[in-house]
Symmetry: C2
Subunit: 174 residues, 2 copies
C-alpha cells in the first residue's frame, strides 16, 4: 500500500490546513506547494489514464487525467465520494497541429500533444487533513516547482462548481 506523505514547507503553514509528517521512502525531493503542502507524488507519469480533454481559451492545451491505484479503482466503480488516498494528476501539453496526418486524411484535422504546458496539477484526498476544503488538497507545479500561493488558493473555488461530483470534473473514459 502506498503511503502518501506531505512535508510542511517552513514558513508557509496556514492554520488548520496542513499537518507535518515524516517523509516516506521514495518521496520526490521537492518542496511542498504552499497552502495544502502537497509534494509531487513519485512516479505519477506512470499512473493509469482516467480521461483526456481539450481546453480552448487561454489554456489552449490537450490534457490527460491520470490516477493512482485508489483513484483508478474509484473512477472505474463510479462511486462517490473518492476515498482517502485518492490522488488525481492533470498533465497538459501544447495543442499542436499534426501535419503528417494531412496527407493521410487528405485534409488538416489532427491535433496532438506538443511540449508540456500549463504545469501539472494534483488533487489529493485526505478528509481529515483537508477537512476545510471538503477533504481535498490541491497543488500546481510548473517545471517541477510549486506555483505561488495565489494559484494554489484559486483551485477550490472553481472545483466547487462540481461539488455534487465530489469536486472532480472528469469521468472515467472506458
Amino acid at each position: 500500500m502506498r503511503r502518501m506523505v506531505f512535508v510542511l514547507l517552513a514558513g508557509v503553514a496556514l492554520a488548520g490546513v496542513v499537518a507535518s509528517m515524516a517523509p516516506a521512502s521514495g518521496q520526490a525531493d521537492g518542496a511542498a506547494a504552499p497552502v495544502f503542502g502537497v509534494t509531487i507524488p513519485p512516479g505519477y507519469r506512470d499512473w493509469r489514464l482516467i480521461s483526456v480533454a481539450h481546453e480552448e481559451g487561454n489554456l489552449n492545451d490537450l490534457r490527460a487525467i491520470l490516477g493512482n491505484d485508489v483513484a483508478i479503482k474509484a473512477s472505474r466503480e463510479g462511486k462517490l465520494p473518492f476515498p482517502d488516498g485518492t490522488i488525481i494528476a492533470r498533465l497538459a501539453w501544447s495543442y499542436d497541429r499534426l501535419e503528417e496526418s494531412e496527407k493521410a486524411f487528405g485534409r488538416p484535422q489532427t491535433f496532438v500533444a506538443g511540449p508540456p504546458k500549463n504545469g501539472v496539477q494534483f488533487m489529493v484526498k485526505d478528509s481529515r487533513k483537508y477537512a476545510s476544503t471538503s477533504g481535498w488538497g490541491f497543488a500546481q507545479f510548473n517545471d517541477g516547482k510549486s506555483a505561488d500561493e495565489a494559484v494554489q488558493k484559486s483551485c477550490f473555488s472553481c472545483h466547487e462548481t462540481v461539488k455534487a461530483r465530489d469536486f472532480v470534473f472528469n469521468r472515467y473514459a472506458p
Copy 2:
C-alpha cells in the same frame, strides 16, 4: 517478458502475412482480426500513456495512445525503429462539451471524452511475422469484435506517410 500470440482466424489467412502460434497464457478469448491475425491484448486499458490527440473531421473524437512496457520504454528513449514486442493501442471517445466548466471558466471552452467511439486500434511489432508491412501488424476492433477485412487492409497505406518515424504518428508526451 510478455509473449504475444496471434491466432490465425480460419479462412482469412493471406499468403505470407500471418503465422500461427499456440496461445499464451492470459490471452483474451477473442477472435483474431483478419489480415494480420491480431487479438485484443489482455489488460491494454491498464497500459501507460504515450500521448493524447484530437481528430476533427469525420472522426470527431478525443483519443489516447497507450503502450505496453516495450512501447513505453522505446517511446521515452525516442529511439527508432520500435523493437519487436512493441504494442501501441489507440483508444477514442466522443468529443463532448463539458458544461460544468463553463461556470468555472466563465465561458464554454472544455471538451472531454464521452462514450467510446471509432473502435480501438492496435499496432504490433514483429519484424519477422509482418515483414511485408515493415514489421507492423495492424488491427481495429469495434465493440470487442474485429472490423472487417477492408478496414484492416486500409491501415498501412496511411501509416506509410510517417515511414521515416517507423510508421508511428504519435510522439511521447512527457
